[in-house]
Point group: C2
Chain length 173, copies 2
């Protein structure tokens, strides 16, 4: 049996950053951990430091091979885009000391992979993440979004593998 592939999903935010860790073994996803990094208080540089250090610690502890992170939908004010950009970059920079691949998905891609619709609500994401991972309870919205980013990675990998299997089959015929 091959080693499971470990994926860390991150839902970046300037006040709360969600994270979720999953192991993929073939098509099967196993829940490992999830939670939220609270960085709502203090000076802005200190809040970035909390995100940077917390994500570094999470990567050091769980050693994922892949980090899946939500990209930012730019339909917001320049001020909030600026803040979110800082928070998201701090989470990405925290992975640079480790041998991980960073992949980015739009909120729409993630929702599509989880609920089948790009217009899914937060509650639908929480509900589907609980169901897909057979969790005992619903994760918090931020943890659910982070787990959803990790599930989206697994989903896209499965699609790619099936596509290349089919191409292989087509070539053999």
């Amino acid at each position: 049996m091959s080693e499971p592939l470990r994926v860390l999903g991150i839902d970046p935010g300037s006040r709360l950053t969600g994270f979720g860790v999953l192991d993929f073994n073939g098509d099967k996803a196993t829940y490992i951990a999830s939670g939220g990094i609270n960085c709502a208080n203090g000076e802005f540089a200190d809040r970035l430091k909390i995100i940077f250090r917390s994500v570094s610690e999470i990567v050091a502890e769980y050693r994922p091979s892949v980090v899946a992170i939500e990209s930012v939908f730019v339909n917001r004010s320049a001020g909030s885009a600026l803040k979110l950009g800082h928070a998201r970059s701090a989470a990405i920079c925290a992975t640079f000391s480790f041998d991980v691949t960073v992949v980015e998905y739009s909120p729409r891609e993630i929702k599509q992979a989880i609920v089948g619709s790009g217009a899914a609500t937060k509650e639908q994401i929480q509900h589907m993440v609980k169901s897909l991972l057979s969790l005992g309870g619903e994760p918090s919205p931020d943890a659910a979004d982070a787990l959803a980013a990790a599930i989206c990675y697994g989903h896209q990998r499965r699609m790619k593998n099936r596509l290349s299997d089919r191409q292989l089959l087509a070539r053999r015929r």
Copy 2:
């Protein structure tokens, strides 16, 4: 004689990030180094990695006590604010492994400190930085903006020291 205080100024940008190192000895500023980090090409995450690693190397080499960084004037599109936020955060995160104080100045504060007017042009900044530091030639616009952030720190420190000297004098009377 006391140890000079070393300040690293940073002018963050998503394509070019300027840096400048100065030593302050009392009121006197001595030029140590300056330059630009080119991160215009490649995937966005790779460009952040270039900023993060380059600023880490600069801090490791010059060991400043203070990092002075320009804050972002938010009169721009959400898309460009998002990119600039990422770049600026990567530069700030690169200082977190070192014992440095990060201070932020608005573009207006920096221009005011260098040229005496918050509406100074890039050329005026370059010219004044060359003159204030007695440089042989004009630094590039990005290096000049970074050196200007460092000069702004020195300027504000001088003002604070004089203010507290006066208060001390007033108390002694």
